[in-house]
């Protein structure tokens, strides 16, 4: 009648007649019987024999049935062990005591075997139902643990790829939920070899895994290209191409990417589909909107993609504020949106230094709900002096004295290349083939970048740097640069020579352009006289070269410059 496990019954009754009778009835019903002669014995047998059901006399000498029932029910186990009280008590209050102590049913004397057997079966069914529920609960718990483990593994991979290490600097403040991967927000920061800071804020369509999955290729492209010194245009273009090829149709990424060049005090911006970013001036309440003027990443095919960036001059203490639509689309209890007008007011009114906290507090008090930050993604970058930017990581695990010991090469770009090709990552990569140059990678890249932009913009294109002395002129300069590149003629040539003698490194870079040259003696004299203020742009480039190079020499008529760098491999 009863098969398998779960058929052991503890019969606890101090009365031998009752106990024998019960044991006989229970045994003949197919159960295994364990007898206990009083309350203490019942508790002992409960633990030693682990019965599946207990028949318990209410009144026993020593420990009574109520006490035994309470101990059994308090015993910490998932098993449901039904207790049937054996009693000749008939008062309602006595029966209530049995229930309070944990009794599941009663049996009155004289015992009726039909009734008892029916009760045993009913209890057995309850037990089985309970076991099924327990099993299902455990299975659900296992599934849940598996799901959480999977998500944690996914998040660990995600965090390795789209890490936030580079955001942990004094000049960047940000809010990014730990679960941002599941709402599609991504925030990336990195430095190029010249220590310019690149930031990308993205908002993928959709939620959950679909939104998270595009982050990995995006971060991969962003980090690797930034580290190699590619321009912002090249990086967003590649991000667009990559996302276009991996995302399913209909999925894309609204993004703002920017590059802060602390040496030149410029910010370069590309915004495709995100709300306007803001440039808040340090010295006034002026703000500049950096509005979206492109399609989001992952939509346009390669040749239709517009990688045009905008460049603005920045001053020390200026702040850039970027946010996904979570901020302006925050809603209060009445269903009203926070809105971009409110955001603009908060950013322009008040001091620049607590801009970030003001926005955060304003949104939180607007929605009047704690923990709202979980859905907000925003970042603020402050313009600081270049020395406050910690140098990009130097690859230190190479044998510094290996590689070529004496070498030279020339590299010349013709007009078609000058139009839209950036030679710097390639040149940097070739140079880094000499391991002893790697400790100076940042300086070398900065020098290369300075020499190339001078040769291209002033030499080949004939643009005058004086133009950049006012904010209007600054914009006009970059507009003129773009249009001049459309019909560029001429060349830029690099001549490199490197040598490792004993432990001394000598690097010579000569850059020649096809321009007419300029009055470099007057220029150098003026730059030497200039007070070294960070505010003015004019002449900053030459001072950078003087800082980083051992010698800097122009050659008549001024379309050729040669710099030398020299250091000992054991130098810091």
């Amino acid at each position: 009648m009863i098969s398998g496990n779960g058929n052991r019954v503890l019969v606890a009754d101090d009365n031998a007649v009752d106990r024998k009778l019960l044991a006989k009835i229970v045994g003949s019903a197919g159960f295994e019987v364990v007898e206990a002669v009083d309350g203490n014995d019942a508790v002992d047998k409960f633990y030693s024999d682990k019965p599946d059901l207990v028949l318990l006399d209410a009144l026993m000498p020593g420990r009574d049935g109520f006490s035994v029932a309470r101990e059994i029910k308090a015993h910490d186990t998932d098993e449901f062990v039904p207790i049937i009280f054996l009693t000749s008590l008939t008062e309602a209050s006595d029966l209530a005591r049995c229930v309070e102590a944990g009794g599941d049913d009663f049996l009155s004397k004289p015992y009726n075997q039909v009734v008892l057997k029916a009760k045993l079966q009913a209890m057995q069914r309850m037990r089985e139902t309970n076991q099924t529920v327990q099993l299902q609960r455990d299975e659900i718990a296992r599934h849940h643990m598996q799901l959480v483990a999977d998500q944690e593994a996914a998040k660990a991979v995600f965090d390795n790829v789209a890490h936030t290490r580079n955001l942990e600097t004094p000049y960047i403040k940000y809010l990014l939920s730990p679960l941002a991967m599941f709402n599609g927000d991504v925030l990336l920061a990195a430095q190029n070899p010249a220590n310019s800071v690149y930031v990308l804020l993205g908002d993928f369509t959709g939620h959950g895994l679909a939104a998270a999955i595009g982050t990995m290729p995006l971060a991969d492209v962003f980090y690797s290209m930034t580290a190699k010194g590619f321009t912002l245009s090249q990086i967003v273009k590649e991000c667009n191409r990559k996302l276009g090829s991996v995302l399913p149709p209909g999925y894309f990424c609204c993004a703002t990417a920017l590059m802060l060049d602390f040496n030149r005090s410029t910010v370069e911006v590309w915004n495709g589909g995100l709300p306007s970013a803001y440039l808040r001036k340090a010295s006034s309440s002026d703000i500049r909107l950096l509005a979206s003027n492109h399609l989001p990443l992952g939509i346009s095919s390669g040749d239709k993609f517009d990688d045009t960036t905008l460049v603005y001059e920045v001053e020390l203490g200026d702040r850039l504020f970027l946010a996904t639509d979570g901020v302006i689309e925050s809603r209060n209890a009445a269903g009203e949106y926070f809105g971009s007008d409110t955001l603009e007011d908060i950013i322009s009114q008040g001091e620049p230094y607590d801009l970030f906290d003001r926005v955060q507090n304003a949104v939180n008090s607007f929605v009047n709900f704690d923990g709202r930050d979980d859905d907000l993604t925003m970042v603020e970058i402050t313009v600081v002096t270049p020395d406050q930017v910690q140098a990009a990581e130097v690859v230190g695990d190479v044998e510094a004295l290996g590689g070529p010991r004496d070498w030279k090469f020339s590299y010349e770009l013709g007009p078609k290349s000058l139009k839209d090709f950036n030679p710097l990552p390639l040149l940097q990569q070739v140079l880094m083939g000499a391991p002893y140059l790697r400790t100076k990678a940042t300086a070398i890249y900065a020098v290369l970048a300075e020499l190339y932009s001078n040769a291209l913009e002033h030499g080949v294109l004939g643009l005058r740097s004086e133009m950049k002395s006012s904010a209007e002129g600054f914009a006009a300069y970059y507009a003129a640069r773009v249009s001049a590149l459309e019909n560029v003629e001429g060349f830029v040539r690099f001549d490199f020579q490197g040598e490792l003698m004993d432990e001394d490194v000598h690097l010579r870079i000569r850059v020649t352009d096809s321009g007419n040259g300029f009055d470099f003696e007057k220029f150098v004299a003026r730059a030497k006289d200039a007070v070294d203020t960070v505010g003015g742009y004019h002449g900053r480039g030459i001072r950078l070269l003087w800082d980083l190079c051992e010698t800097v020499n122009y050659m008549t008529p001024g379309n050729q410059i040669e710099v030398t760098m020299h250091w000992n491999v054991n130098d810091e």
């Binding site: 009365n15 009752d18 024998k20 009778l21 009144l59």
Partner: protein
């Protein structure tokens, strides 16, 4: 016999207990004697809780073997003990003793 033991219940017990029926009856004889002596000594010692427990236990045994009259007397005794009222206890104990002898006589003749 009808007045002392419920014959119908006894027959059912025989069916249930099969060849252990006489063993059960022997157990009753021993146990009920013990319970009565326990009740008697509880009363002698003025121990109402013990008197109540003994009366209760004997009452349960009687119920299961169909000794209904004795069962009722035990119930009265239990109630007195529970109430802590000793007025009728000697009288009830005497009746339990008489009825218990009757039950024993009947069982021994089975």
């Amino acid at each position: 016999m009808n007045e002392v033991l419920n014959e119908e219940l006894l027959n059912e017990l025989k069916l249930i207990m099969e060849d252990e029926f006489s063993d059960l009856m022997q157990t009753f004889l021993v146990e009920s004697e013990k319970q009565f002596l326990s009740a008697q000594s509880a009363w002698d010692g003025g121990d109402f809780p013990k008197l109540r427990l003994s009366a209760h236990s004997l009452k349960g045994s009687c119920a299961n073997v169909g000794a209904e009259q004795l069962q009722q007397t035990c119930a009265l005794l239990e109630n007195q003990a529970l109430a802590g009222n000793g007025d009728h206890v000697p009288e009830l104990l005497a009746r339990v003793s008489t009825q218990l002898n009757d039950v024993h006589d009947v069982i021994e003749q089975l």
